[in-house]
């Protein structure tokens, strides 16, 4: 019998990631899955987008949308009290200059040493670095949100990234469909397990050996 735990839905991964955000934090959400963290972020989190906007409101409905008010993922956003617009020079100074508290990014691969690969997919010829490298090197804390394995069922958490890197040793926390892992100086430490998921099961789907934290607990939402 082959009973596999389903793991968390994308919404639940984002809900768990949103719990890391606190009012007053300046936060950048990467293109793709990370943008959905906005749906669960606590009030008072100030969202930054690399196309030059800070403190915007929720995703706009079709009636509300203005084509000149979008986030970096080309989603229409809304005006909110305290919103500001600025040029890309300032937008990237905020990133590179360590003014952002957290960046939440997607990943194709994360390595044992916290290396991140998220700009060129397996088999892709060109690719899109976008602002991900600037964030990876600039934000004070990098949280990754992703499925635990790729679409072929292979581990995304690997000993060494085989895809081109976005940043070397930049990742702090990994939140996947199965668990929460902290990148520490001695390796990857398993801190939380999704409900119904065992540490053995996570280890089977993870290439490097995980450090089993004495503090490991079931994920809360």
């Amino acid at each position: 019998m082959n009973l596999q735990p389903a793991g968390l839905s994308k919404d639940l991964i984002c809900l768990r990631a949103a719990k890391e955000l606190k009012p007053g934090m300046y936060v950048n959400l990467g293109i793709g899955l990370p943008t959905q963290v906005a749906n669960f972020a606590p009030k008072g989190v100030i969202l930054h987008s690399q196309n030059g906007v800070l403190g915007f409101g929720p995703i706009a409905s079709e009636e509300e949308m203005d084509w000149e008010l979008v986030n970096a993922g080309a989603q229409p956003i809304t005006l909110a009290p305290g919103i500001s617009f600025f040029s890309s020079i300032d937008a990237f100074a905020m990133m590179r200059g360590r003014h952002l508290d957290v960046a939440i990014l997607g990943a194709y691969q994360v390595s044992e040493g916290g290396d991140l690969a998220n700009w060129r997919m397996e088999g892709e010829v060109l690719g899109a670095i976008g602002g991900s490298m600037d964030l990876a090197y600039g934000a004070k804390r990098i949280i990754i949100v992703c499925e635990h394995t790729d679409r072929n069922g292979k581990p995304r958490i690997v000993k060494r990234c085989t895809l081109p890197l976005t940043g070397k040793g930049v990742v702090n926390t990994i939140i996947t469909s199965l668990c929460l892992i902290e990148v520490t100086e001695t390796g990857l430490e398993l801190r939380e397990l999704a409900p119904g998921v065992t540490a053995d099961y996570v280890q089977k789907l993870t290439e490097p050996k995980l450090i089993m934290s004495s503090k490991v607990k079931e994920m809360e939402f």
Partner: protein, 248 residues
């Protein structure tokens, strides 16, 4: 005494050009051109189209993604692209750069947006090169000089001067002063700084003195031509906008 604008004095400078085709008429084969915009917002759609209609050859194009210069790819005008997104942000969308790249017709340099922006700013600010921590340990550092500052390893990045910048603003006056609308600002002010000749497509041309001097984002010294544009076609705008959350 409080400073007052003397409205009887009219400016002698007039940078307003009567049509987009006239505004891009002297861009030669082989020019290095920057195109503003991030997604549809801030893209000088009409200027790019006018340039594509001239069927110039061998351009080096600096832009966020293929979205800014689709018409120039179709007209076969591009031989090199310097961009952070060598495809659309949505990886499942067909990539217009892929075929010309694979056939060797277009060279592609992919780089982090922030580094691109700072290379443009450096060009505009008279700084030949600078050290930057972004990209250390990745393909970005290849063949570049490295140096450590304290704990941070950095790579040497060079200024990227443009021959021409095609940019989009909301309002412009005859002096070339510009203001932008919301996220249409994006790369446009820095593209303007980096170019020998900056051509601004605007929604509205106003008389000098009508823009609030304290709200001007790009001062006229960076802008050489101002031309009235038209809103891009709705289907082009909406093709890039994702109303629903992206599948990953």
């Amino acid at each position: 005494m409080q400073a007052q604008l003397d409205k009887r004095k009219s400016p002698v400078v007039n940078k307003v050009i009567s049509s987009v085709s006239e505004a891009v008429a002297d861009i030669p084969d082989g020019a290095v051109i920057g195109i503003g915009g991030f997604g549809a917002a801030g893209t000088p759609y009409r200027l790019v189209l006018a340039l594509a209609e001239r069927k110039v050859k061998g351009l080096t194009v600096v832009a966020t993604s293929p979205r800014q210069f689709e018409s120039l790819i179709q007209s076969g005008s591009v031989s090199k692209v310097i961009t952070p997104f060598a495809r659309y942000a949505d990886p499942s969308a067909p990539n217009p750069l892929l075929e010309p790249y694979l056939k060797g017709k277009v060279k592609v340099e992919i780089l982090p947006i922030g580094t691109l922006m700072e290379r443009l700013r450096a060009a505009g600010a008279g700084i030949p090169a600078f050290y930057c921590p972004v990209g250390v340990g990745t393909k970005v550092e290849k063949d570049k000089e490295k140096r450590r500052f304290g704990k941070r390893q950095c790579v040497l990045e060079h200024a990227l001067p443009l021959d021409f910048a095609l940019i989009k603003a909301h309002k412009g006056d005859g002096m070339g002063n510009l203001v932008y609308r919301m996220t249409s600002r994006c790369h446009n002010p820095v593209m303007a700084m980096a170019a020998s000749v900056t051509i601004a497509e605007v929604d509205k041309i106003v008389e000098a003195g009508q823009l609030n001097p304290e709200a001007i984002v790009t001062p006229g010294v960076f802008v050489h031509r101002v031309v009235k544009g038209e809103k891009p076609p709705t289907n082009w705008i909406y093709r890039g906008i994702r109303m629903k959350e992206q599948k990953t």
